[in-house]
Symmetry: C2
Subunit: 246 residues, 2 copies
């Protein structure tokens, strides 16, 4: 989870008073965060949704979100939503962007800052199994409450792009995974099929997978080797790639 560093400011009291007065004159709007929480199960990309609690959107799915509290960091608010709903810590979370169409909420203007999260569905149990919280296949998601479908679409596009350039995808898998699982993940998210030999060769050449010398268990066929992603090495060797292509 990224944090911005903010310079500590030391100022004269009267200067602060002016600034406070200025901000006091600003109009204000309600602010929320919404989390697009992706998971991967049965070779399908899923997103965590809940039945809307608003009558206007009865039977429609909505994203998990909440208001941002006073003096709460945006990132922290998103993280709080995530934790409350999934019970998980240390989950990948990144801001995508803000959505602020004046009519996006039927109750009046609400700005929402959207976060995308990736987690391993099997590493947690949803806190509330009965309250209509569920994993929905992203590909078959239709209408949603508010502008949440547009938000999911934006996050899905974000993910498709992001997963090709950064090692995010591993957050959706168990810590130990086989190359087949990894390939299935990429194929599902990108919506393409990839050549198995070339896919493996690609990851082999990156040299960022640790062969942990274990095999898959309980698969109904020849078990594959298990790997971990070498985050440490990746962090050290992050390359700044230069190339023009559009």
């Amino acid at each position: 989870m990224k944090k911005n560093t903010i310079p500590v400011l030391v100022h004269e009291p009267h200067m602060i008073k002016d600034a406070v007065k200025l901000v006091g004159s600003y109009p204000t709007v309600p602010l929320t965060v919404d989390c697009v929480i992706f998971g991967f199960e049965e070779n399908e990309l899923k997103v965590l949704v809940i039945k809307s609690d608003l009558d206007v959107f009865r039977d429609k799915f909505s994203l998990l979100g909440d208001i941002v509290k006073d003096n709460e960091e945006l990132d922290d608010a998103a993280y709080r939503v995530l934790k409350e709903r999934t019970g998980m810590n240390d989950v990948f979370l990144d801001q995508v962007r803000a959505f602020g169409h004046p009519n996006r909420h039927p109750g009046g203007r609400v700005i929402t800052v959207v976060y995308c999260s990736l987690l391993n569905i099997n590493h947690h149990e949803l806190k509330i199994h009965d309250n209509e919280l569920n994993w929905h296949n992203v590909a078959t998601l239709k209408e949603m409450a508010f502008d949440h479908k547009a938000i999911v679409d934006a996050c899905y596009a974000w993910l498709q792009k992001r997963i090709q350039e950064h090692p995010l995808g591993f957050n959706l898998l168990p810590e130990k995974f086989s190359l087949r699982e990894l390939q299935n993940l990429y194929e599902a998210i990108l919506g393409v099929s990839l050549d198995r030999r070339n896919f493996r060769k690609k990851f082999a050449s990156m040299d960022l997978l640790i062969d942990i010398d274990e095999m898959e268990q309980d698969v109904p066929h020849r078990p594959g080797k298990l790997y971990k992603f070498n985050y440490e090495k990746y962090e050290k060797s992050k390359k700044k790639w230069i190339g023009i292509d559009f």
Copy 2:
């Protein structure tokens, strides 16, 4: 400028009332937009800054921003700031993300949604020449008011990445430009030097530059050919590139 399409909702009045009541119970915060407006001049990437009007930040530069008005689209607010300050229409503008650290403004919490804009410095004259509005070299920008330095840094990183994958850069150049100007632009933004022959070959192979059969004027050396970017062709042939690399 991108717009989100929002479904038109038709609902029972009592449902709306519930929603209105709900939103009425939300805490609210002041909301602004800030524009990181990039220009390119004398082979340097510049950003449009203004002396802060807050005493606490006396002599520090700040970005151009404003509050978001009631029922104003975020994009529109950013566009309004841009137009008020530069007098220009049809300028490239894209949201980068929201910044919301509780202490980012000394006057109290203010959320800002940050936009990045690219324009041709020579296509406009700043509306107000005297009010300390000026183009500052991005590379030498030091301290700024608020968290604006962090915002500029984020936008600069955004631009560096973006310019390699999308034809944004042309917004910083005159409509007709030489290959040298284009290369200088890439070199300045990416902070690298590129091989001239390979650079030209790259753009030639994309086949997205229109040779308009004109030459540079008033250059103190052999003039180069002028080109336009073929936006029409680009839009038709946008490729969805698949490749894993990190």
